[in-house]
Symmetry: C2
Subunit: 348 residues, 2 copies
């Protein structure tokens, strides 16, 4: 007999991305940053390790909130820290969507949104992007209690302009919050954080995993109006962020010079990589993220994925029903990208 | 208008325990360990800080699972790591209890269980402990989908003998899992981990916060049969534990000599503290945890709490409808406990 809820019983087991431990791989499959975090982060962790382990952490991560608020020009009570931005996506789902209610998200997109709906016992409506990765005019689904919009989107790396997101949020106003998932925004030219001032139903989520090179510590945050943040606070685990990661994330935000150099390098490599892959005959939409989405007419994506893996280069093979296959390739260091291009040349 | 679910809207805001930042307090209010963690933990954190931050952590915390499994004499797939044992209590709630279904727990006990029910939109049945902190014969509530049993219990510090827990689990078998919350078990003489071998509905949860002096890193684990662990894995956030805390928790488990000395000191101080408080006229049940639960006929608990706070000593004032007031006092270092007794002598 099973004690599990029927929706949990029916779910597929989670398949984590490939994280080879040991062996030398060039990892371009999980959008990790190839460069180390700020030295100030390492120093902050060392300090906490000596004096901050035996006591509970600050439940509201006040030091981080204050730093993030300063950076974004809002008050600290507009910020909620999370154990990775996935924690915040879980919190919004549990805050706004009851069992049997509906979540809407575009497709192809981040597969976690569907899992969150399944765990919650909610239904999930997918609205396909247009051929140019734009939003269809009717993105909102009647009766949905929550909408997710990853911006930039994964796997495409494409962005919906803030003005278009503002229009969408306005249409959803009064019926559902719109979560603008900005996990990749620090590699883009624009973002939607200013929308939270004008629209009470906009929640922006961010991650320090990619642009601050901190996937290992799990840290993200949400930006929204204080009444939204206060409600979400009820739903989070009491001590959802630990003392080490709060100190690390705060130190990372303080060192904006390191952040700017790091993200500028990624963007420069991304442009070079995009041009080279197009020269090889790949189709790529312009990416605003730290990865590119490649399809190639003659060469099947799965074969390229496997041949690259044989050559110790991991990229992400993705297959979406109705939208076909492709490779999502993270922007690595210049040396890693050179080797990728070298190997690809031999196999396409 | 509110976008929140009605159950979230109706919840009280979370009130974190007092964590004074700055100022010199003797903190005996949140059951933190007064002694530092193993030096091996600090060393492990330093190593990860240098090399492990930019990549995602191992989603299953394999190194920790293997170490915990070795310690408990089970296989690694009997263990699930969590971002504090609160994360695991959240996971079991979302795994087994649908909206409108019921959770049962004893009272007075850990207040989080009710919050978890409220967030899930579930009902919550409280079964009072007997006057001697024993389980009533009818602990189980018909139709409950999940039962929590903190053992040792907070605030009482008392324990239900494993044989009695086995009988309870047997009665619940076929209708609901029994979560034995062993956050404080490392200060007790017995525990229930062996029950998971025989009873598929028993889930034991543990915390490294207290006995390993690691409240700051948020780490706990569940022990249950592999099919239960596999189902709970679907519900957890993909990367619920970070790389730093996985390394720290693993190193802590390895250093069992430090653990034994640390917990033995706490137990010795607890016995001395218990005898002294009884001499002062307090009523205390025998504690198997790292705190004691004190009531005092003539002196109201709230006044003692406030006068101690004025003297820079924080203890936890707790008031339970129907069961009265009391002070839950954590076992501090010998010097801290001496000062507590000194000040108490002046005010009772």
């Amino acid at each position: 007999m099973s004690y599990f809820r029927p929706n949990i019983e029916a779910m597929a087991s989670y398949q984590p991305g490939e994280q080879p431990r040991g062996g030398e791989f060039i990892k371009l499959n999980t959008n990790e940053n190839p460069y180390p975090p700020s030295p100030a982060v390492i120093e902050a962790i060392r300090r906490v390790a000596v004096e901050g382990l035996r006591k509970y952490p600050d439940p509201m991560a006040t030091a981080f909130r204050e730093q993030a608020a300063r950076l974004l020009g809002v008050e600290p009570d507009w910020i909620l820290a999370g154990n990775g931005s996935d924690d915040l996506l879980t919190i919004v789902t549990r805050s706004f969507v009851g069992s049997g209610e509906m979540i809407v998200a575009p497709t192809p997109s981040y597969i976690l949104y569907r899992s969150l709906a399944e765990i919650q016992g909610a239904s999930f409506a997918e609205v396909p992007f247009t051929d140019t990765w734009d939003l269809p005019d009717k993105f909102d689904s009647p009766g949905a209690r929550l909408a997710f919009l990853p911006n930039p989107n994964s796997p495409s790396g494409t962005m919906i302009a803030p003005q278009r997101v503002r229009e969408l949020a306005g249409r959803l106003h009064g019926s559902s919050p719109l979560v603008v998932d900005e996990a990749y925004t620090d590699f883009a030219e624009e973002n939607c954080v200013s929308l939270v001032r004008d629209l009470e139903n906009v929640i922006v989520t961010r991650s320090l995993s990619k642009s601050y090179s901190l996937a290992g510590i799990r840290f993200g945050y949400a930006v929204a109006r204080p009444e939204i943040i206060a409600g979400m606070t009820k739903v989070k685990d009491s001590y959802n962020c630990d003392a080490v990661s709060i100190a690390a994330a705060t130190a990372a935000l303080v060192d904006q010079e390191h952040f700017r150099q790091n993200t500028a390098r990624i963007r420069a490599t991304r442009e070079r990589m995009t041009a080279a892959l197009r020269n090889f005959g790949f189709q790529l939409p312009d990416s605003q993220a730290n990865f590119v989405w490649c399809t190639h007419g003659p060469a099947p994506a799965r074969r390229l994925y496997e041949e690259l893996k044989n050559r110790r280069i991991l990229v992400r093979f993705m297959s979406y029903p109705g939208s076909g296959d492709g490779l999502r390739i993270s922007v690595g260091s210049d040396a890693e990208v050179d080797q990728l291009l070298e190997e690809l040349k031999k196999i396409i």
